[in-house]
């Protein structure tokens, strides 16, 4: 018997049991829906993350450079006293870098330049005739892609600043272009001064750029941004006389052209520093997405597993119901192999139907939900659910395969049926 004829017959007998076929397919459909959606979310998440990373990191840079700590993870043992500066963040200790570390890092083979990581929390920012606002000031990174409403980063080195659009509005500029060239004051508290009567000094900067709230930036965009030279002045004023003066949480380094970041990372390691390449940063986030996706797919797989029993059960009932038909076909000379195929192909049809129903629902649902999700998470015009036709097709093919496998046992029962027994009329 030809496969084509068997396939048509298989499809036809399913059509004759519409309700049963549909219900069995729906069980698989739930699995397909979950798996297709998790794959799409995974793809979207990876895309989103890689957007974030490519717009926040530079491939020839090393990040989070810090001093290597031997047993920092082992909290059960008392730690040796070291003469270094330690910052404590919610129980997590970090050895701070000082200027000699920065110098040492810049001398490491392959390092082109080192930028200490600086962040300053001013007392407030304001401008003449306006209210005072809290803010944080961060380092301007040229590799972070900012979208400007007005102006740009040109001239950022000269006592200038980039402000987010929200601050532009708060500080009373009606249009973004009005803000360009205007001055704002940043008030910094001297760290060593008496907290009850703090010494506060104003620093004045010219606005060169107004940036839009970015969709894919981790840092930058929500804070005021300044060039490293300007940052250092306010940072020093802020920390002068305190224990953390002249120390940095971490640093980033640019690598010389033609040298791989991995090599420099190893060089730094030998010099006693830890560093992360852009890939390391990515790897961590991707791993997180992968785990999340695996969990979701796990749920889908569970649904598929449940539907496997549904298929087996349905097909067994179908074999019982059609005992006479099977007997007749065998009496007419249909081969055992073909009888088995007929039932396996019926299972395949069920898998195909379920897979298609689930995938279509997932794609339709996901496409409708996409803008709503992006809006709810406030991430701008980003698609967090990305359907890849190849992965949808893979899911459908996979489910057809699973269905055929579940159909094996009932198909074998059908193939083994004795036509004489099957055709007994009593």
């Amino acid at each position: 018997m030809r496969i084509r004829d068997i396939t048509i017959r298989a499809g036809r007998s399913l059509k004759h049991a519409k309700a049963r076929t549909l219900l069995t397919s729906l069980a698989i459909g739930v699995g397909a829906f979950t798996i297709v959606l998790s794959l799409a979310v995974g793809a979207g998440g990876r895309q989103y993350t890689s957007d974030i990373i490519s717009s926040n990191t530079n491939e020839s840079a090393l990040y989070n450079i810090s001093i290597k700590q031997d047993d920092s993870s082992d909290s059960s043992k008392p730690k040796k006293y070291t003469d270094t500066q330690i910052a404590n963040y919610g129980g997590y200790e970090m050895v701070l870098l000082n200027q000699s570390d920065i110098d040492k890092i810049s001398e490491v083979n392959g390092v082109k330049s080192v930028t200490p990581y600086l962040t300053v929390s001013p007392k407030y920012v304001t401008r003449e005739g306006q209210d005072k606002y809290q803010a944080s000031v961060e380092l301007f990174h040229s590799e972070v892609k900012l979208e400007y409403v007005a102006g740009n980063a040109d001239g950022i080195e000269n006592e200038s600043i980039i402000i987010p659009d929200e601050y532009r509005e708060a500080l009373g500029f009606e249009n973004a272009s009005d803000a360009i060239g205007q001055k704002i004051q940043i008030y910094i508290e001297k760290g060593s001064s008496n907290p009850l009567n703090p010494e506060i000094k104003a620093f004045e900067y010219t606005i060169v750029g107004v940036n839009k709230k970015p969709t894919v930036a981790i840092n930058g965009g929500t804070a005021l941004q300044m060039a490293s030279s300007n940052m250092k002045i306010i940072n020093d004023y802020n920390l002068q006389g305190t224990s953390t003066y002249g120390t940095y949480l971490s640093a980033s380094a640019m690598v010389e052209d033609g040298v791989s970041t991995e090599t420099v990372k190893n060089n730094l390691n030998e010099a006693g520093y830890e560093a992360k390449t852009a890939e390391d940063l990515m790897g961590f986030i991707f791993q997180f997405i992968d785990v999340l996706q695996a969990i979701l797919i796990g749920f889908g797989a569970l649904a598929v597993l449940t539907s496997v029993f549904g298929i087996i059960n349905t097909q067994y009932i179908s074999v019982l119901e059609r005992t006479q038909q099977i007997g007749l076909m065998k009496a007419l000379g249909m081969r055992r192999r073909d009888v088995g195929r007929l039932f396996k192909l019926e299972a395949a049809w069920v898998g195909f139907l379920g897979g298609s129903i689930g995938s279509v629902l997932a794609v339709v649902g996901g496409t409708i939900a996409n803008p709503a999700i992006s809006k709810a998470l406030n991430i701008g015009d980003v698609n967090l659910i990305i359907f890849e036709p190849s992965s949808v097709a893979m899911v459908v093919v996979g489910l057809i395969f699973v269905s055929v496998v579940s159909g094996i046992m009932p198909a074998r029962k059908a193939a083994k049926l004795n036509p004489i027994e099957a055709l007994r009329t009593e």
Binding site: M1, R2, R9, R12, L332
Partner: protein, 226 residues
């Protein structure tokens, strides 16, 4: 020619054995119409199953066209069933959900007949039983007599050399039964096809060339052999 030689078939094991066929031998010439007569439980159905390759007796030979079908492997038997023989059953066994056309198409699909050659043969078979106008009707919508005629169409579409009919009129009233009988005997005479009818109806048996009486698994008598 069909030669049945010393065929013995037993069911069950050891103490509980039941001899369904006991050393049965006879010969059927090509193109003959044969009635296998006997009460229920006499072994007549087992005999039909043996000749059609559905059942395997442990002893004896059944030689059809010079080949002992009891010695064939499963693949060859399946081929023999789809190419050489056909069945008509008391309960029709037409597929109620399917159209008449698809019912008749089944044997051709099983034998792997090319798609483009099927249509004419199916329509010829349907018109031979005067059901061409019901081509697209579902089998469940047919009357009993029509269902059996459909079964006849399904049996003759593959141009078999031997036609088995197991109580073909058992579920039909005498008028519709006669129509089916006429179809079977007509096909038998016109195409020189061997017709083997299993029945306990003496009137039907009388229309056959040969009557083989089976009792308790043994051939009681054979009438009509020249």
């Amino acid at each position: 020619m069909i030669e049945v030689k010393n065929v013995t078939k037993t069911y069950g094991k050891k103490d509980n054995t039941f001899v369904a066929l006991d050393n049965v031998s006879f010969t059927i010439p090509d193109g003959a119409s044969v009635a296998i007569l006997g009460k229920s439980g006499s072994g007549k159905s087992t005999l039909m199953h043996a000749i059609s390759g559905l059942d395997k007796p442990e002893k004896g030979e059944i030689i059809i066209d010079g080949k002992n079908i009891l010695a064939l492997n499963q693949k060859a038997i399946d081929k023999f069933r789809s190419k050489t023989i056909s069945f008509i059953f008391q309960s029709f066994f037409v597929q109620a959900n399917e159209s008449c056309y698809d019912n008749v198409s089944l044997p051709l699909e099983i034998s792997g007949t090319a798609t483009n050659r099927r249509k004419k043969r199916i329509e010829d078979a349907l018109s031979a039983v005067e059901l061409l106008d019901k081509k697209k009707s579902r089998a469940r919508d047919l009357s009993g007599g029509q269902k059996q005629r459909l079964a006849v169409a399904r049996a003759i579409v593959s141009n078999p050399r031997i036609l088995f009919a197991d109580e073909p009129t058992g579920n039909l009233d005498s008028a519709t039964g006669e129509v089916v009988e006429d179809l079977l005997f007509g096909y038998n005479k016109d195409n020189d096809v061997t017709l083997i009818i299993v029945t306990h109806d003496p009137d039907l048996a009388k229309r056959c060339d040969i009557q083989i009486h089976i009792k308790d698994g043994k051939v009681e008598s054979i009438e009509g052999v020249k």
